[in-house]
């Protein structure tokens, strides 16, 4: 079924750089949203909060605020904890709109919650920025004001396939082993289509339910399929479990790429040397080469802190020992995109902002930003592929972003037991 066409205010002319005389310059700009600080997404929620706070530090302290009519307006973030419960989001977003009078909304984490609060945003005509709703389906529902910062789910595992295709034409047999959930299914549906397109043979494509305790049945079946590369994962716990049990059952492949879990430093802490060589897709990674210089080379405007600055602010709010995950980066980037759109619109009017988004093409530390004007889906942003090498995450794909060479094929479990690292 075709998604309903969205009546975007596309035809309107791009707003002028100067404010119209009647537009008042606001005292401050408030972005509001809920985060999952408790409950099943607490990990992502906490990261997002820190990412947002880091972005705001740059925005207010370095940039001085958003430039509207020549005046710098400070930005605030108002948030509540939605506990990852679908019942809470509507009421909290309603409160953000009516009581806290926020100007722009940051959507909650996960596709479900993003959908849940969408009607409230839409009814009140507030721009609704998704920083953690990866599902492509959100943008097929005909909501006017949803905009996405991150790459959609269908892109998560395509990078790994691209890379293998480029460096090892002999690797043909792919196995998919992933969580039976909305998000992972979207990821691997995209991956499967792409794999077939690239000429891979999908020799195994099976799911496991949420919160598995033992993946042996699935993995021993997969082992028999003798895959060259294994793509899998879902969330944190199962991703860790997947890697652990691959090790236990000594299932070797030339490449293992797991979504979500390997992105967090705790992944390596937990698995130790077993994590060596494991690859994961990320919306962002420390070390990505999105810099003002790179932007200039591409002829696209750069906005926001540099990566180093972001890292520094992040550590200021989160603590010295913390490294941002991509969840932090995408939330921070969402704030920057909102700020830029408001600046471009020179107004806090929702239609003007939404319109400004359509014409917004920029690079931040998180990467490119450019949306599909009709649906609001992110088109510009690229995912990266990283690999745990010698206890560090090294970006290995795409080549433009890479900070190191892929270690391929990855060491076998037996080798890793001997202490072999995925370093040359």
């Amino acid at each position: 079924k075709q998604p309903a066409p969205t009546p975007t205010p596309e035809s309107k002319p791009a707003p002028e750089a100067t404010p119209s005389p009647e537009a008042k310059v606001p005292e401050k700009i408030v972005i509001g949203g809920t985060l999952s600080l408790s409950g099943k997404y607490a990990n992502e929620g906490q990261m997002s909060l820190w990412g947002i706070q880091a972005a705001l530090k740059w925005l207010n302290d370095v940039n001085g605020g958003i430039d509207i009519g020549g005046k710098k307006v400070k930005v605030e973030f108002k948030y509540y904890d939605d506990e990852a419960k679908k019942e809470t989001v509507q009421s909290l977003y309603d409160r953000l709109i009516t009581v806290d009078k926020v100007d722009v909304l940051l959507a909650p984490y996960s596709s479900g919650l993003t959908l849940a609060a969408a009607p409230i945003a839409d009814k009140n005509g507030k721009v609704y920025m998704s920083h953690g709703g990866a599902s492509d389906r959100i943008f097929e529902q005909g909501y006017t004001y949803v905009v996405q910062t991150l790459s959609p789910a269908s892109k998560y595992q395509t990078g790994a396939l691209d890379m293998v295709k480029a460096i090892d034409p002999t690797a043909k047999r792919v196995a998919f082993v992933y969580e039976d959930s909305e998000f992972s299914k979207a990821v691997f549906k995209g991956a499967k289509e792409y794999a077939e397109q690239l000429g891979f043979e999908v020799v195994f494509d099976k799911t496991y339910p949420r919160n598995p305790t033992d993946l042996t049945p699935l993995l021993s079946e997969m082992k028999a399929a003798e895959p060259d590369i294994i793509l899998g994962g879902g969330h944190f716990a199962d991703g860790q479990l997947l890697a652990t049990q691959l090790a236990e059952l000594k299932i070797n492949a030339k490449l293992v790429s797991i979504i979500v879990a390997p992105a967090l430093p705790k992944f390596y802490d937990a698995l130790g040397v077993k994590a060596e060589g494991i690859v994961g897709p990320g919306q962002w990674e420390v070390g990505v080469k999105y810099s003002p210089e790179a932007a200039k080379a591409k002829g696209i405007e750069y906005f926001g802190p540099t990566q180093d600055e972001f890292m520094q602010y992040f550590k200021e709010v989160a603590g010295e020992d913390k490294t941002p995950s991509y969840h932090a980066a995408e939330a921070g980037a969402a704030i920057l995109a909102i700020a830029k759109a408001i600046e471009n619109a020179q107004s806090t009017d929702s239609d003007a902002i939404r319109n400004a988004f359509n014409n917004l093409h920029m690079i931040t530390f998180f990467g490119e930003f450019k949306i599909d004007p009709t649906t609001g889906k992110q088109l510009g942003h690229e995912m990266v592929l990283f690999q745990w090498q010698g206890g560090k995450k090294v970006i290995i794909w795409p080549p433009e972003a890479a900070t190191g060479e892929p270690y391929y094929p990855i060491p076998t479990w037996e080798e890793k037991e001997q202490g072999k690292m995925a370093t040359k």
Binding site: E87, I97, Q141, S181
Partner: protein, 329 residues
């Protein structure tokens, strides 16, 4: 008539106050809708738990099926030109689904007693969830999203209105209906039969009570209300159904918690319990985001140690014999 109205008075008054406040104070509508979800959830569960003494841990299955009923109506019939009739079809499907499931579960599990029944029903709701996911029924783990169908059928504005207002009004209506039905039942033969079987099933049988009939009746009634809640508060309001969300046992636990907070088997109990629970969760989430549960949890424990029979249970006991006792049943 009076005996029906008197106990309903406090409950209806509360409803009217909530409705009035929600409609007149800006920004209060959604919070009240949020609280009402818990109030009505408690009321629906109380119809079965309070009246029969049977605890149904798989209760959420009825909400889930109700939610699916409505979602399926939209995904199957959007193009059939039913107009707003599609919502009626959705509710019908929700009701039919819940009744069918309640009959199936009733036939199997209602023979079990006590905790065995309670936990056997977990088998039902969890089993159902994994059946949907495993057999890729109804979209499997990807669920059903109906936002676009809502928009196609009613237009953007009306769809938003449905999700952010009409569905909440429906919840109010379901709550009021539940309250009236509860009071009515309590005063009929059925009410006494339920009391008897709750207290001593064997003795009730010997006294001529067809315990199976009344159990199934209460079970079905409670299931229908759950189905309506699922269809309205989840599908219509949130516009999507994911199996992992709608078959989550936490809702059963919350419903029991609400019923116990207020007092099981009392009419106003779940209403008061839902209010306490909803308000605590909502306001603390706004004041102490991220730390609210550190406060909510001990408060719940404190309340239950002070009022082991629930707040309304306590009031009822205090009022016993006074002229106000008619208002609290």
């Amino acid at each position: 008539m009076k005996k029906y109205i008197q106990p309903l008075l406090p409950v209806l008054t509360l409803y009217i106050v909530l409705l009035g406040a929600g409609l007149s104070i800006p920004g209060l509508w959604q919070p009240i809708a949020f609280i009402m979800f818990y109030v009505v959830l408690g009321q629906a569960l109380n119809m079965f738990l309070g009246m029969t003494g049977y605890v149904d841990f798989g209760y959420v299955a009825f909400l889930g099926l109700g939610a699916y009923g409505m979602a399926l109506a939209f995904s199957l019939f959007t193009d059939d030109g039913l107009g707003s009739g599609i919502i009626v079809v959705g509710f019908l499907m929700a009701v039919i689904f819940s009744i069918l499931l309640s009959m199936a579960v009733g036939a199997i599990a209602l023979r079990l007693r006590g905790a065995y029944f309670a936990i056997a029903t977990i088998g039902v709701s969890e089993g159902f969830k994994y059946l949907i996911e495993g057999a890729r029924l109804w979209g499997g783990s990807e669920g059903i999203i109906i936002s676009s169908q809502l928009r196609d059928s009613f237009g953007s504005e009306m769809a938003n209105y449905l999700s952010t207002f009409a569905s909440d009004i429906l919840i109010f209506a379901i709550g009021i209906l539940a309250a009236i039905l509860t009071v009515y039942t309590l005063h009929t033969r059925a009410g006494y039969a339920l009391m008897a079987l709750r207290e001593d099933e064997d003795a009730a049988k010997v006294m001529g009570v067809n315990v199976t009939k009344y159990k199934v009746m209460a079970f079905g009634m409670s299931a229908v209300f759950a189905g309506l809640i699922g269809a309205s508060a989840w599908t219509l309001k949130l516009t999507y159904v994911f199996p992992e969300d709608v078959f989550n046992i936490i809702y059963t636990v919350e419903a029991i918690v609400i019923v116990m907070l207020g007092g099981a088997g009392t009419l106003a109990g779940p209403v008061v319990g839902g209010l306490i629970y909803g308000i605590l969760r909502y306001y603390l989430a706004t004041v102490l985001p991220g730390f609210q549960l550190l406060v909510v949890a001990p408060l719940l424990v404190l309340i239950v140690t002070v009022f082991p029979d629930g707040v309304v249970g306590y009031i009822k006991r205090k009022l016993k014999g006074s002229r106000f006792s008619k208002y609290v049943i």
